[in-house]
Symmetry: C3
Amino acid sequence: MKQYQKAIRIQTQPKNFFRITPQVESIVTESGIETGLCNLFIRHTSASIIIQENADPDVLQDLANFFGKLVPEDATRYLHSTEGLDDMPAHIRSVLTHTSEQIPINRGRLVLGTWQGIYVWEHRQWSHQREIVIHISGI
Amino acid sequence: MKQYQKAIRIQTQPKNFFRITPQVESIVTESGIETGLCNLFIRHTSASIIIQENADPDVLQDLANFFGKLVPEDATRYLHSTEGLDDMPAHIRSVLTHTSEQIPINRGRLVLGTWQGIYVWEHRQWSHQREIVIHISGI
Amino acid sequence: MKQYQKAIRIQTQPKNFFRITPQVESIVTESGIETGLCNLFIRHTSASIIIQENADPDVLQDLANFFGKLVPEDATRYLHSTEGLDDMPAHIRSVLTHTSEQIPINRGRLVLGTWQGIYVWEHRQWSHQREIVIHISGI
């Protein structure tokens, strides 16, 4: 068994989704690993990695709307506000979603379902550079 | 170190939980791996893998009730509705719960706590065939 | 590739956060693994592992407040109540957060971002001894 590790940087858009499936697939190919596991880790507490539907963009819009209502930017609710009104809601969204994900590899490809895409979800209200570490192990 | 990968298919019941602990344990045994890690990945965006209490069925019923209220099937809330009123809530429940899980293996067995069971949680309102990829690595 | 597995026990405080970053880092050092992956698994369904901001304690307080409102201890909402009014909310919080996490290792250290800490989050209203299994693999 061998392993392969690489970090990528993504420039996000405010409260938006950035699909990283192509980058991750290309790193899997680069690794030369045919059967194994691909682990994704985002080095931030106000952005997430999620696996969600890659077909209808309305799904992502509905996700954004739902989380906007569930975790509102309401100054009266939070003690932690020095970094902006969107910061504490971003931390909560991060806990409610995912800092790491893992996807098996088979025949040199991620075993994602037909409708599954991998996204970086920016929870802050302006653009950030986000770093994701991709760790692959296998044969 | 070696690895072992296998996919299983589960026929779910509408908005219900299907315990897969026995299937996963039997694949761990099949793998011959004594110390290692077992990774679970569900290839869908409207069903989840969760680890929850395996003793009192009321826990699962309460989970279902809670998520029914938290993510209601209300047509006025979602743009994405072509696949049915239950589809967008199912995507949100998937993001709020888990697409992948991982459990260490020790002495040839999953190190699950006494009260932990592994479940596939169907978020749609009818039965589906769901595929879970199980990836085990270790010695 | 080699692997290293160890369990730690943490005495938690009621509905509180216990930072385990130092323990996990010291086990990574102990493992001698320079490049690899560190997996964390908590053997309970009413406590979580989360990765969150390690700087301002208000963030943790706000997280606690948010979850207190989102998943209230309200007897009328739950069927499962024999283990106390805080038990079912604890299970729901566990499903909404994380039973397992994974962090890559590079140059013998976890690749945590500057602001990321690893916490055990106790969801019950009294102190418990919680067991976390740490599984590390790599080179």
